[in-house]
């Protein structure tokens, strides 16, 4: 379980994506070129990473991380568990990958910042993980493929005791199971 997101956790950049009525259709907007097209016709057709000739094995957690570019993680406001527009975009991206590899299962880890009590934070982390799971299910991912686990405030990724660190730690991280 420690093999999670280490690199792309800081900011929720990525492409700006609009979610259309809970459907999976994504329409990239803005000036940036889309990094990938929604339905992949088949594996191993992309050649978008010239620096890495081999690249991660398609359908692996490494592939998921590389494709998500930070969108494996969504963030929450203080004491909140609602899925905002930015989270919706990230989860849509996750759902797209999960639909592409229908045999893959995933665990959604819920986390909290350190400024709460320990037990409540375990329950709150569970609630956040569930919110993410429910949204993925609403996008068509089979609920039986998704499990949740809460780590409360026990596993921070940002180690400071400041607002910026707390904002990073209030998160739900999707980890696919290889």
């Amino acid at each position: 379980m420690p093999a999670l997101m280490t690199a792309n956790r800081s900011v929720k950049t990525g492409t700006t994506v609009l979610l259309v009525a809970g459907a999976l259709a994504l329409s990239a907007c803005g000036t940036k070129a889309p990094k990938q097209l929604p339905p992949e016709p088949g594996p191993a057709t992309t050649t978008q990473t010239p620096g890495q000739p081999a690249g991660p094995v398609p359908g692996s957690q490494a592939d998921f991380l590389a494709r998500m570019m930070g969108s494996d993680t969504i963030h929450f406001g203080l004491d909140q568990y609602d899925i905002d527009a930015e989270d919706q975009a990230a989860l849509a991206k996750q759902a797209q990958w999960l639909m592409q590899y229908p045999s893959k299962r995933a665990t959604i880890e819920g986390h909290c910042d350190e400024r709460g009590t320990r037990e409540y934070n375990i329950a709150l982390g569970e609630r956040r993980a569930n919110a993410a799971k429910n949204y993925l299910v609403s996008l068509g991912v089979d609920a039986s493929r998704l499990s949740t686990v809460s780590f409360g405030k026990e596993r921070p990724v940002a180690l400071g005791s400041d607002e910026a660190s707390w904002a990073q730690n209030r998160r739900a991280v999707t980890v696919t199971i290889d």
Partner: protein, 474 residues
């Protein structure tokens, strides 16, 4: 990781001969302050029995008895022979016993005892016949003397005497027979006897604490289940740390510990049996379970279970059976602490939007909110005396506070960056909690009395959190 069944070897009746003549049990601490204790008007610790009515009372360790001069002398022995204790011979053990008594009384901010170092050492024959002029000359108000004797079976007999120097009178005595490994318990019993006699409060030193030992960096911290005596001695780890352990609770008879473990991946409540060093899940739910609690009689267990993001409180018999759901509202209802008579439960819920404190009957009926003072309120723990509820108040910083069971009389006991998860001393006069340092995230266990003035850090080998104080041992 051997398990030592908590066989009780203490015997209050000192069935032995010299030097104790009149032996009587010290089972009921006399609720009478020592006669020689000056009690200036307005200072006396009256009105302790604050009830449900929202009184702010219950301030301990604020009486004049705190200023008593108590001399604690080396416990004498009739025969300096080897023992099976880790303290050495009976002579060395006598010294160690008196040191434990002195540090018990000193470290809790209750008294300012002197000795045993730097004080005259009574001979064995003087244990029962104090040299009063010597102690008067030293301006001692109270004198604690004792002895230790080794029995042929390896067990130890330890006697403890409290004298009023000015009255030239014995106030209290106690004697205990203990196995060598339990010698510190006799010292705690002696300290309890002195404390109870002089303060009028119930004893608490002879008790144990379960907690979480923490090591390692903030993002990869190992959290192990551990136990220790109330003074930090006899420390022992119960889990290896491979699975994160959190939020232990000692059973009232000290035979088991409820705690949360990530052993199977999900946070789940296990019941750990200390005699067999084995554990089992309290409920096979398939859902995460957390926040375990015992009823005061040990017959019931409260736990909280998350399902679909919602968390509610359940009750199950400690011998198993079908869980009963006690809360049923949208949101997170969690924790729960029984009133001393077991009729009510104080718990935490965010059903109103933020964490607040509620009280319900033990069957789940009549749920009503009691915290209405702003901020968030969490981790309520009902005092063993019934008159106060300790909790974590969150308004920026996290602070430990108390209020009455009706929600009145909010009073902060601590003022630091992050103090949380209070647990009561068996007599309801002291609260332990854990404090987290900003940035480093290092945690440590602290305690504070109800005045909020006498605060100290407990000595633990490594970082420490989630203290759970058990009852006084019989």
């Amino acid at each position: 990781m051997t398990s030592r069944p908590l066989t009780l070897v203490l015997s209050f009746a000192l069935a032995s001969t010299a030097p104790v003549y009149g032996v009587y049990a010290q089972s009921q601490p006399a609720p009478v302050p020592a006669q020689s204790a000056p009690a200036p008007a307005g200072q006396a610790d009256q009105g302790l029995e604050a009830d449900d009515a929202g009184l702010t009372g219950s301030v301990s360790a604020d009486g004049a008895w705190q200023d008593l001069g108590i001399a604690i002398t080396n416990f004498a022995t009739d025969n300096d022979v080897p023992t099976q204790t880790n303290a050495g011979s009976t002579g060395a053990l006598g010294r160690a016993l008196s040191q434990v008594v002195a540090s018990d009384l000193r470290n809790n901010g209750l008294f300012k005892p002197s000795g045993p170092d730097g004080l005259p050492q009574p001979a064995y024959a003087q244990v029962q016949a104090p040299d009063y002029p010597t102690w008067s000359a030293r301006a001692a108000n109270m004198l604690v003397q004792g002895y230790v004797r080794a029995g042929a079976d390896g067990n130890l007999t330890i006697g403890c005497y409290l004298y009023d120097v000015q009255l030239k009178q014995q106030l209290m005595k106690g004697g205990w027979q203990v196995a060598p490994s339990d010698w510190r318990r006799a010292a705690h019993k002696c300290a309890d006897m002195v404390y109870s006699r002089l303060s009028g409060e119930s004893p608490f030193f002879d008790s144990k604490i379960a907690y979480i030992a923490e090591t390692g960096p903030k993002d990869h911290r190992m959290k192990r289940l551990a136990i220790m005596d109330s003074d930090g001695a006899n420390h022992r780890y119960l889990t290896s740390g491979q699975a994160t352990a959190l939020t232990p609770r000692y059973s009232p008879d000290y035979s088991k510990i409820l705690y949360l473990s990530y052993l199977n991946g999900q946070p789940s409540i296990y019941i750990y049996d200390l005699a067999s060093d084995s554990q089992k899940l309290i409920a096979r739910t398939g859902n995460p379970t957390m926040a375990p609690r015992w009823s005061p009689d040990g017959k019931w267990i409260l736990y909280s279970m998350a399902s679909g993001g919602n968390t509610d409180i359940y009750r199950i018999s400690s011998s198993g059976g079908t869980p009963i759901r006690l809360t049923n509202t949208p949101g997170i209802s969690i924790g729960g602490s029984y009133s001393p008579n077991g009729s009510q439960i104080v718990f935490e819920s965010d059903r109103s939007g933020t964490q607040q404190i509620y009280v319900m009957n033990a069957d789940g009926s009549n749920q009503h909110r009691i915290s209405f003072f702003g901020g968030r309120a969490a981790t309520p723990e009902w005092s063993p005396r019934g008159d106060q509820i300790a909790f974590t108040h969150i308004a920026g910083n996290l602070r430990v506070a108390v209020m009455s069971p009706s929600g009145g009389g909010l009073r902060y006991l601590t003022n630091s960056w992050q103090d949380e998860a209070p647990t009561w001393s068996p007599n309801g006069r002291i609260v332990q909690f854990f404090r987290t340092e900003k940035t480093s995230g290092k945690s440590s266990i602290w305690q504070v009395d109800l005045t909020g003035k006498n605060e100290r850090k407990l000595p633990t080998p490594v970082g420490a959190s989630d203290p759970a104080w058990g009852p006084v041992r019989p």
